[in-house]
C-alpha cells in the first residue's frame, strides 16, 4: 500500500491545451491518444488489405488511382509483384504492432489499469507520456517508408534474413525501406518498454489499500501479465532490429553468410547466420501474439462477468491460465521454425510445449463456457463481441493443433492455412476483444453512449463476414485443387 498523497502531490492540474491534450501526463489522456493512434493505424492497415484483395481478384487489371500511391509500384495502375509484397508487409506490420499491441494493451490498459487498482495514476507519468509519443514517432517512421523512392520493404513483417539484410540488391525497398522498418520497430519497442515498466510497477506497487493481487479484476491481471511479456519480448526485438540496421549501414554481417551471389554479383558479407535472425525474431514473435490476445481475454472476461450477472467459475484459474500462456509462450517459438533447417530434434522439442499450451487455452475457453452456464447474459454490443471472441478463439485455436506438430506442418507451413489460423485468432478474436472493450468502456472514456443498433449491426457483419473470409481459407488448404501457398502476387499453378 502506498502513500496516496505522494502521487497526488506529483499531480498539479495542467493548464493550456498542449499540456492537457497533447503532452499530457494523465494516464486517461494517454490511453485515449493510444486509442486514436490504433484507430488511424487500423484504417490504414485495412485500406492496404483492400488493395491487396482487389488486386488478387483482378490481377493485371488497372486499379484506378493506384499509380498515385506508387508510380513504380503501379505502372498504368496495374499492381506490380513488388508493390503487392510491400503492401502485405506494411499491412501486417501496422496491424500487429500499431493496432493489436496498441489498442488492447496500451490504450485500454493505460486508461483503466490505474483505475482498477485504485491508483491516482501510473508511478512514472513522464515515461508514460514518452511511451505514447515514442510509439507515435515509430508509426511516422514506418509510414514514411511509403514515400521513399524505392518504397517500403517487401520482406514480410517477419523480415527473414538474408533478404532483409543484404540491402537493395535483393529487391526494391530492401535498402532504405528495411532500414526505416527496423528503425520504426526499434523505436516502437522503446515506447512499449516504457509502457510495460509503468504497467508492472502500477500493478505491483500502486494498488490501493485492501486491493490484494487476487482482488484485481481479470482485465487488470491481463494487462499485468501482458506487460511482463512485453518487457522481455520487446527487449529482444529491439537489439535484433539494431543488428539488422547495422548490417545495412555499418558493413556488418550478423545475419549474412559468405558466398551469396545476387544479380551475378558476389555479396561482400561473411560470417553471419540467417537462422539467428529467425531465433531472435520468433523469441519475440510468439510472446507478441499472446501480447495481442491476452488483454482481449481479460477484457472479455471482464465484460462477460458484468453482463452475466454472476462471477466466473474461478477467478484464480483464469489468472493462472493466462500466466501459464505467458510462461509457455517463450518455450514454443520454434514452431514457426519447424522446417527452417534448424536441428530437427529442436523441432520436436518445440512441438511439445506447443501442444501443452493447448491446455491453458482450453481451460480458459472452458472457464468462459462454464461460467455462461446458469447465467442471465445481457445481450449488448460488448457482450456480443465477447461471445464472438470466444467462438473465433476456438476456431483459430483448433487450427493450431495442426501447426503444432512438425509432421503435419510439412503440409501446411507457408500456406493459406496459416493465414486463416492467425487471422482468426489475431485479426478477428483480438480485434473483437478491442471492439468489446470499446463498446463497454466508451461511455466511461468519452462521456456518451454508443449507438446499440449500429453496434449490433457491426457485430453481425463482422462475425459472419470474418468467418466467411477465414474459414474457407483454412478448409480449402486441404484440397489439391485449391491449396495455395502464401505471399503470392498471383498463383501460377498450372496443373
Amino acid at each position: 500500500m502506498h502513500d496516496m498523497s505522494h502521487a497526488q502531490a506529483a499531480h498539479h492540474e495542467p493548464t493550456g491545451f498542449i499540456r492537457k491534450h497533447v503532452f499530457s501526463l494523465d494516464h486517461k489522456v494517454i490511453g485515449k491518444q493510444y486509442y486514436g493512434l490504433a484507430l488511424a493505424a487500423v484504417l490504414i492497415g485495412m485500406f492496404l488489405s483492400w488493395l491487396m484483395r482487389i488486386h488478387l481478384g483482378w490481377t493485371n487489371y488497372p486499379i484506378p488511382g493506384l499509380e498515385l500511391l506508387s508510380k513504380n509500384g503501379a505502372p498504368g495502375n496495374v499492381m506490380t509483384p513488388e508493390f503487392y509484397l510491400q503492401l502485405m508487409t506494411m499491412h501486417a506490420t501496422i496491424m500487429v504492432f500499431f493496432v493489436l499491441t496498441t489498442a488492447p494493451f496500451a490504450a485500454f490498459g493505460n486508461y483503466f489499469l490505474p483505475i482498477q487498482v485504485g491508483a491516482e495514476d501510473m508511478p512514472f507519468p513522464h515515461f508514460n507520456m514518452m511511451s505514447f509519443w515514442v510509439t507515435f514517432v515509430g508509426f511516422l517512421v514506418l509510414v514514411s517508408s511509403f514515400f521513399v523512392p524505392d518504397g517500403p520493404t517487401l520482406g514480410g513483417w517477419t523480415q527473414y534474413a538474408p533478404l532483409s539484410a543484404v540491402g537493395k540488391v535483393s529487391g526494391p525497398g530492401q535498402g532504405l525501406g528495411v532500414v526505416l522498418w527496423a528503425t520504426s520497430i526499434a523505436i516502437f519497442c522503446v515506447g512499449q518498454l516504457l509502457g510495460s515498466l509503468n504497467f508492472i510497477t502500477t500493478t505491483l506497487d500502486m494498488r490501493t489499500r485492501g486491493m490484494s493481487m487476487w482482488r484485481l479484476p481479470l482485465s487488470a491481471w491481463a494487462w499485468f501479465i501482458t506487460s511482463v511479456m512485453g518487457l522481455t519480448a520487446f527487449a529482444v526485438l529491439m537489439p535484433a532490429c539494431i543488428l539488422l540496421i547495422l548490417d545495412h549501414v555499418a558493413g556488418t554481417s550478423f545475419f549474412v553468410p559468405s558466398n551469396l551471389v545476387i544479380n551475378d554479383q558476389l555479396q561482400p558479407h561473411s560470417g553471419g547466420s540467417t537462422l539467428l535472425w529467425q531465433h531472435l525474431f520468433w523469441f519475440f514473435g510468439h510472446p507478441e501474439v499472446y501480447i495481442a490476445i491476452v488483454p482481449g481475454m481479460g477484457i472479455v472476461s471482464h465484460v462477460l462477468v458484468t453482463n452475466m450477472r454472476k462471477p466466473l467459475l474461478s477467478h484464480r484459474v483464469v489468472v493462472y491460465s493466462m500466466g501459464a500462456l505467458a510462461v509457455l509462450s517463450y518455450m514454443v517459438y520454434g514452431h514457426h521454425m519447424f522446417l527452417s533447417g534448424m536441428n530437427p530434434v529442436s523441432s520436436l522439442a518445440f512441438s511439445f510445449p506447443t501442444l501443452v499450451i493447448t491446455i491453458p487455452s482450453t481451460i480458459l475457453v472452458l472457464m468462459w463456457l462454464g461460467s455462461l452456464y446458469g447465467a442471465k447474459l445481457r445481450i449488448n454490443s460488448a457482450s456480443l463481441f465477447s461471445l464472438g471472441f470466444i467462438s473465433m478463439f476456438i476456431s483459430g485455436g483448433v487450427s493450431g493443433f495442426f501447426l503444432a506438430q512438425p509432421s503435419t506442418d510439412i503440409m501446411l507451413h507457408a500456406t493459406y492455412f496459416v493465414v486463416g489460423h492467425f487471422h482468426m485468432v489475431m485479426g478477428v478474436a483480438a480485434m473483437f476483444g478491442i471492439f468489446a472493450g470499446t463498446y463497454f468502456w466508451f461511455p466511461k472514456m468519452f462521456g456518451r453512449m454508443m449507438n446499440e443498433t449500429l453496434g449490433k449491426l457491426h457485430f453481425w457483419l463482422s462475425f459472419v463476414g470474418t468467418y466467411c473470409i477465414f474459414m474457407p481459407s483454412t478448409i480449402l488448404e486441404w484440397p489439391e485443387t485449391y491449396a495455395v501457398t502464401r505471399r503470392l502476387w498471383t498463383t501460377t499453378h498450372s496443373r
Partner: protein, 267 residues
Amino acid sequence: MGKFVAVTIVVIAIVSAIPILRHTWWMAEDISTHGAPIDEQMSETMAEAGISFLASQIILAYFIWRFSGSRPGEKVKHFPGGAKAMVWAAFLLVGTEVLALGVFGVKAWANIYFTPPAANAMPIQVQAGQFAFYFRYPGPDGTFGPLHADLINEGTQNFFGLDQDHDQDSKDDIVTAEMAIPVNREIHLLMHAKDVGHSFFVPELRVQQDFVPGLDVTLHFTATKIGRYEIVCTQLCGLGHYNMKAYLNVKSQPDFDDWLKKQAALQ
C-alpha cells in the same frame, strides 16, 4: 438476439465441418514412401481438432441460447463441479489427446529426419536462387564438382558457378532446369541456396524444407508414382517469389536414363 447468435454459431460450425467430414476436397495424393504416417497424423489431428471444434462451438451455442436474456423467475446457477471439473476436463481430455498426437507424431517426423539416406540413394543437388530452381546431377563419375560463387553467370547459363575447364569433377556434371527422378529409387537431395532464403515444397511428395544460405541442408525421399509434379518455393524470397517453381518428373528407370543421356548431350 442471443438465440440468433446461437443458431449462427451452430450453422457456421456445421457448414465448416461438412466438407471435411465428407472429404469433399482432400489432400493431394501421396506419392512418397514416408507419407503414410504424415497422412495418418493429419487425419488424427483432424479428428481431434474437429471434435473439439464441434463440441465447443455447439456447447457455446447451446449455453448462449439457454442462458442469455434476463429470464425472469429463474435463478442464476453455477456449473456443477465448478472450475475444478473444467480444469480436470482440460488436462484429461485435451491434455492427453494433444500429448498422444505429439507422441505418435514423432514417428512421422523421425522417418524423414532421423533416418540416414540409403547407401545407394541417388544424389541430386538443387540450387535455389532468385527466382528459379536449378538441378545438378553428378554424372558418370558420381562426384559433384566444386562450386565457385564468383563464376556464376546466368547469361551464359552457368547457374552453379562451375569451372568445367579446370575442375575435373565438374566436367561431367549435368545441370537441368527440371528435376527428373526414377520411380521407386531413393533420392538424396542436397539443398544449396544461392542468395536468400527459399524453400522446397512438393505436396504430393510430402516434402517441405527450407534452404538455409550458408548451410547446405539435405533431405531424402522416394517417389512411388510416375507423373509430373510441381516444386514451389514457399519462403518469401523477393518480388519473383510467386513465380518461383520447377517441375519434378518421376519417370520409369529406362525413361529416366534416356532423359539423363539427352540432358548430358545438351550441356
